[in-house]
């Protein structure tokens, strides 16, 4: 396959230029122009008014990521220690809910969390006081964790199964107890999985707009909702929407840059990330 096969990617190059590069340039163009098409910084500056929305999105996304990591790591560890056949079954069970459309999964939680929902009926039947859960920030975090936890478990699991057993045995031979083996060998060696899990949960969690709409009510506006409102909602203003999108992209890129930094420093820094 010599030089001539290079041209096979020409249609792809054209396609991506038209449907990825050009649209991104358009986002930039709309973000820096007003309705008549002349240059302005107003859109970017007015994004500052929504700093509370940005902070809320980042905060809720971060909480959901930490909770997913806290719940997902033990599960991945337990699965990785099982025998091969049970591992396959378990991995499939983790993935199976992902095959159901995420709107339906989130809708299921609406049924459970409502004031007259199943959990509250259950509490009522036990004679316990009812709890208001739907339309709270907690419900949004729950929805995020529920939808994205497989993205945390799967990369963790695949890294944990690849750890060389002889390394663990070596540590044990050298006198490490099981706690030390876990903290000083297993955790540092699973860092690449942690990093890809964290990115795969954080990015969709920060930019979601359905979960907050369905579980958060009106009071928990996130960046995604803000963008949605500017393009398809009541507040139609694609220029402002583009500016918000641009800022969101920059935030995500910065976060990923920080994560990659950790990935490189991992060999030297050991297990001090957690």
């Amino acid at each position: 396959m010599k030089s001539d096969s290079k041209f096979l990617s020409a249609p792809y190059t054209v396609w991506m230029t038209v449907f990825i590069v050009l649209p991104m340039l358009l986002v930039g163009y709309f973000a820096f122009t007003d309705k008549s098409g002349s240059f302005t910084l107003e859109n970017i500056l007015s994004v500052g008014q929504y700093s509370n929305v940005f902070l809320r999105s980042i905060w809720l996304g971060a909480v959901a990521t930490v909770v997913s990591l806290g719940l997902g790591y033990p599960l991945a560890y337990i699965i990785a220690k099982m025998n091969a056949r049970r591992q396959n079954v378990m991995v499939m069970l983790v993935m199976l809910p992902m095959w159901m459309n995420f709107l339906l999964r989130t809708y299921a939680w609406m049924t459970l969390l409502e004031d007259n929902g199943l959990i509250n009926s259950f509490l009522g039947a036990l004679g316990l006081p009812r709890i208001h859960m739907i339309n709270t920030a907690g419900a949004v975090v729950l929805g995020m964790v529920y939808n994205y936890i497989p993205y945390m478990v799967l990369p963790l699991y695949s890294v944990l199964t690849k750890i060389d057993k002889s390394v663990i045995e070596a540590a044990q031979d050298l006198g490490a107890n099981s706690r030390e083996v876990f903290l000083k060998v297993v955790v540092p060696m699973s860092m690449p999985g942690v990093i890809s899990g964290v990115t795969m949960v954080f990015v969709p969690a920060v930019s979601t707009f359905i979960i907050s709409k369905m579980l958060g009510g009106g009071g928990n506006l996130l960046i995604g909702d803000l963008i949605d409102m500017q393009f398809l909602g009541s507040a139609y203003n694609p220029n402002l929407g583009s500016a918000v999108s641009l800022v969101l992209m920059v935030i995500i890129l910065i976060c990923m840059g920080i994560m990659n930094q950790f990935d490189d420093g991992e060999a030297a820094g050991g297990g001090m990330l957690l």
């Binding site: 792809y12 190059t13 337990i78 809708y107």
Partner: protein, 273 residues
């Protein structure tokens, strides 16, 4: 003791993952005139009957399947060609191409959706033509499927011995035939994985379709409008049907893999998605 703890923990996590789905399924059989989501009124199949009489849902399903088939096929052909091209590139152009390929996968979905919407709306404004609909949906779905196809074909190309193709030509095989007889069978598993991924991603996509569909309905968009409107147990019936279909497909795939594994005697984990 430790083992029991691990078991209980695993059980609790799976309870968390599956309880909502179970509730959906149970209440899809609920016979209740008030259409309550939480009061049990006896067993019935009425919501299933209603579901299959709903012309809008069936239309949305047809659209979804059509889009999935077309965009999976198109992105597989385009993506495989691109992967072969990228694989034979020098280092710098290859890096540029890989960065462009990775970009839509790291970029938030909503930004991809919004940017494509801007593109289509601007194109309509500039050149006229029909507004957003099936055409823009095809283009959008092909776009977000392409990277997944390329990333599943490329590793197979790297694993392949490049001498094989030259050996075939040395033995008198014309280039075209050498490609179909030597290269294609080698990278077939990657192509099939890419095709299946593209198909399922396309069926499941909501966010990008939401911004690029105009008034065209796909199944996820229809589901979204159902959850906004009112309490409707039809959604439960629909979820149950979709879940059952997925379960059956997975069981078939797994049974086939188990058979293959038996014949090959390789207890390796299958690279499903």
């Amino acid at each position: 003791m430790k083992k029991a703890g691990a078991r209980i923990y695993t059980f609790l996590i799976f309870l968390f993952l599956y309880a909502p789905i179970l509730v959906l399924i149970v209440f899809s059989f609920n016979d209740s005139e008030t259409a309550s989501r939480t009061v049990w009124g006896g067993f019935s199949l009425r919501w299933y009957r209603k579901l299959f009489e709903d012309r809008l849902i069936l239309e949305a399903l047809c659209n979804t399947l059509l889009i999935a088939v077309v965009s999976a096929a198109a992105s597989t052909v385009l993506g495989t060609m691109a992967a072969i091209g990228i694989n034979s590139m020098k280092r710098l152009p290859r890096r540029i191409m890989m960065n462009i390929t990775n970009f839509p996968m790291v970029n938030p979905e909503i930004v991809t959706g919004v940017s494509l919407m801007l593109l289509f709306v601007s194109a309509v404004r500039l050149f006229g033509g029909r507004s957003l609909g099936m055409g823009s949906l095809f283009a959008a779905h092909i776009t977000f499927c392409l990277p997944y196809v390329i990333l599943s074909v490329l590793p197979k190309l790297r694993q392949m011995d490049p001498n094989l193709y030259e050996a075939a030509q040395d033995l008198g095989c014309p280039p075209g035939k050498a490609f179909f007889k030597v290269v294609l069978p080698e990278i077939m598993p990657g192509i099939v994985t890419g095709l299946i991924m593209a198909f399922t991603l396309s069926i499941d996509d909501f966010v990008i379709s939401y911004f690029t569909s105009g008034t065209t309905q796909t199944l996820p968009i229809y589901i979204y409008s159902m959850t906004r409107k009112r309490i409707s147990p039809e959604i439960n019936a629909l979820s149950t049907v979709m879940f059952a279909v997925v379960m059956i497909l997975l069981i078939i795939i797994n049974a086939r893999n188990a058979k293959e594994r038996k014949t090959e005697k390789l207890p390796e984990y299958h690279e499903s998605m």
